[in-house]
Amino acid sequence: MIGPTNDPTTGATTGATSAPTASPTDVRARASLRATVPWLLLGAAWLAVVAGGMHRLWRYSSDPGPGAAAPAEWPAASRIGRAPGRATLVMFAHPHCPCSRASVGELGWLMAHYGPQLDAHVLVLRAPGTAPGWEEGDIGRLAADVPGVRVEIDAGGVEAARFGAKTSGQVLLYDAGGRLLFSGGITGGRGHPGDNLGRARVVSLLTTGTADRADSPVFGCALEDSKP
């Protein structure tokens, strides 16, 4: 690296002997810096890529789907049988949505703690244009394993449309009189089980009849085909 060089300002050639001689320590320090800089740049790029990826994943998990525009009164046309004298909880679920496992899990928690007060239904979607059997999957099986829960097939998404549900994991809670108490999700994120606001509000409504809010974000797959 040290040798005759052209001075860009004068065009003159200067030799290493005419320049102040660098000490061996300086030379080593410069060589060390030259060796380190690419690694620092690589490290910074790595950090940026990983941080970006984490952020994207995080955003996906915390990005709710559209909530339901549910009727304030239990729709009379609904084919879901409502038990008299008890609150009715309806969950709409996509049969293959991996995120909805957490929703079913939270429903299981609710049923374990407040099952006697609830008449729970899980409506597993059979999307329009799909053959019978398409709806068979983990979600239906998991829901069927929850004591006190009735699993029904929502052929063509008729009930989902009736209740305005658009996202898998959508929960609607109607009181014994058929009035809508709550509409939202009961997970804290996509496929994220554990304590969350939606579940807490359902519990509050079941135990005290009131909650700070009657809705919460719903995390799950879309129940309807995406529009082109």
């Binding site: 990983v50 991996p98 998404g157 804290g188 496929g191």
Partner: protein
């Protein structure tokens, strides 16, 4: 004793330096080994994450339309990204500080990713604690710092932007991330103590290894020295036996030759006298042929030479213990100078008058002085008058006597210096090779040592050192 005391700190320092080298070698080996361990671990984690995503969330759905789930992309791409830099560093810069710190950060990022891919299952959070334990394999507590910071930062950011994902409530107290970090720090404390203890043990092992190596080295050196001594003494014994045999033979031959030689010499002296006497009939013959007297003189000279050779042989062969008597050196040197044959050098006796008197065998020492001085004057260069200086010192204040005979002659070639005291070795045309052997023998019998320092073209110094015991014995 003095030498030993001087060397002890040097040995301790050498052992300490070696222990440091061993310690750093072990540390580097550990760093490299654990780097490799994490390379394998990260690849396994990557494969596991991909498998997890493919099994549990292969597709995202919108009605009946499916698309590859983001978790699959995250496992493949983000997992690959997290793994890439540690892999590259472990390959290109194994054992370096940067490598293990990046690995520490990456491992904790893997915890975050796996927790995410598993849907935040509480069981997956144990990956954090397992990872910290793995990092402690480095026995470098400092790697736990960036790892803990990554965990704390992850929790802090989540607390600010998505508290439900870790705490299950929307408005946790500001210090909640510290509560989570505390349990990580709790494990850190245990692991830091384990790391420090591990390093201390490593240092102890290195110290012991260095001490053992030093011990082995000392033993090896001592063994080598013993072998050299053994070889030397074996050679000396062989030489001594050989010389003893030669000595006996020489003594026998010398003894047998001396009497006839004396008779021949007497006869020759008689003939010479008669030839030189003008009254005898032989004088006429001598006058008629001048070569007669020349040959008679030649016979006398050669008989003298033969007598000297026999004398040297007998001196060398009949090793007589010295008869030690107080003997002032200066007059003894004057006597030796007076007995030298004709020569072309100037001899200066600079031995101090007041030199303490050593105890010597006067006859033996006179003989060796004659031998040394004769060699010195014969070494004079042909182009100038030589100068031989005899000096002496010591003998008082516990110092040994040092007698030095120095000349400014041609010097001794380096290749023969080591051989000049060997019997029968000579570079002179008429030398017997016994003169300096006799000198060395006599000095040895007096308990002294002899050294030669010669520079070709400049001269030679022969130094005889006599122990103080000789003087004390005399006193």
């Amino acid at each position: 004793m003095t030498t030993r005391e001087t060397n002890m700190p040097t040995t301790t320092e050498a052992v300490g330096a070696r222990a440091d080298t061993i310690f750093h070698g072990h540390q580097d080996a550990i760093y490299r080994r654990v780097d490799k361990l994490f390379v394998v671990l990260m690849l396994v984690q990557w494969a596991f994450a991909i498998g997890l995503a493919l099994v549990f969330s292969p597709y995202g759905w919108a009605g009946k339309v499916k698309a590859t789930h983001l978790h699959v992309y995250a496992a493949v791409l983000l997992g690959g990204a997290i793994t890439s830099l540690p892999l590259l560093l472990a390959w290109r810069r194994p054992g370096s500080v940067a490598t293990r710190h990046v690995i520490a950060c990456a491992q904790m990022l893997w915890s975050a990713l796996l927790i995410h891919l598993s849907g935040g299952r509480i069981e997956t959070h144990f990956h954090v604690f397992g990872s910290l334990a793995f990092l402690a394999f480095y026995r470098d507590w400092k790697v736990l710092v960036p790892a803990t910071l990554v965990v704390a930062l992850d929790h802090l950011v989540r607390q600010i932007y998505w508290p439900e994902s870790v705490y299950g409530v929307t408005n946790p107290e500001w210090w909640r991330f510290l509560e989570h970090a505390f349990w990580v720090a709790f494990e850190d404390v245990v692991l830091v103590l384990a790391c420090l203890r591990g390093v201390a043990e490593l240092r102890t092992i290195s110290q012991r290894q260095a001490q053992v190596e030093q011990l082995e080295r000392d033993k090896s050196v001592a063994l080598d020295e013993a072998l050299v001594d053994l070889k030397r003494s074996h050679e000396a014994r062989l030489r001594s036996e050989k010389l003893a045999a030669v000595g006996q033979l020489a003594a026998s031959v010398g003894h047998e030759l001396r009497n006839p030689l004396t008779a021949v010499r007497n006869a020759n002296t008689y003939i010479s006298r008669r030839l030189n006497d003008p009254k005898t009939a032989g004088a006429g013959a001598a006058a008629a042929d001048p070569k007669v007297l020349q040959f008679v003189g030649l016979i006398d000279r050669e008989l003298t030479a033969c007598t000297k050779i026999i004398g040297d042989l007998l001196d060398f062969a009949r090793e007589r213990p010295p008869d030690l008597q107080p003997c002032p050196l200066r007059p003894l040197i004057d006597e030796a100078v007076a007995l030298l044959p004709a020569h072309r050098a100037r001899v200066r006796n600079e031995v101090p008058e007041a030199l303490p008197v050593p105890s010597l065998d006067k006859d033996q020492f006179r003989q060796i002085l004659i031998n040394l001085l004769q060699n010195a004057v014969e070494a004079a260069r042909p182009d100038r008058e030589g100068e031989v200086v005899v000096t002496a010192e010591g003998g008082g204040d516990g110092r040994p006597w040092r007698l030095c005979v120095a000349d400014d002659g041609a010097g001794i070639p380096p290749e023969v210096v080591d051989k000049i005291f060997e019997p029968l070795f000579t570079t002179k045309i008429k030398g017997t090779g016994l003169g300096l052997a006799v000198v060395a023998n006599v000095v040895r019998l007096h308990g002294g040592t002899i050294h030669v320092d010669s520079r070709p073209g400049e001269g030679t110094r022969v130094v005889i050192e006599l122990p103080l015991a000789a003087g004390q014995q005399a006193a």
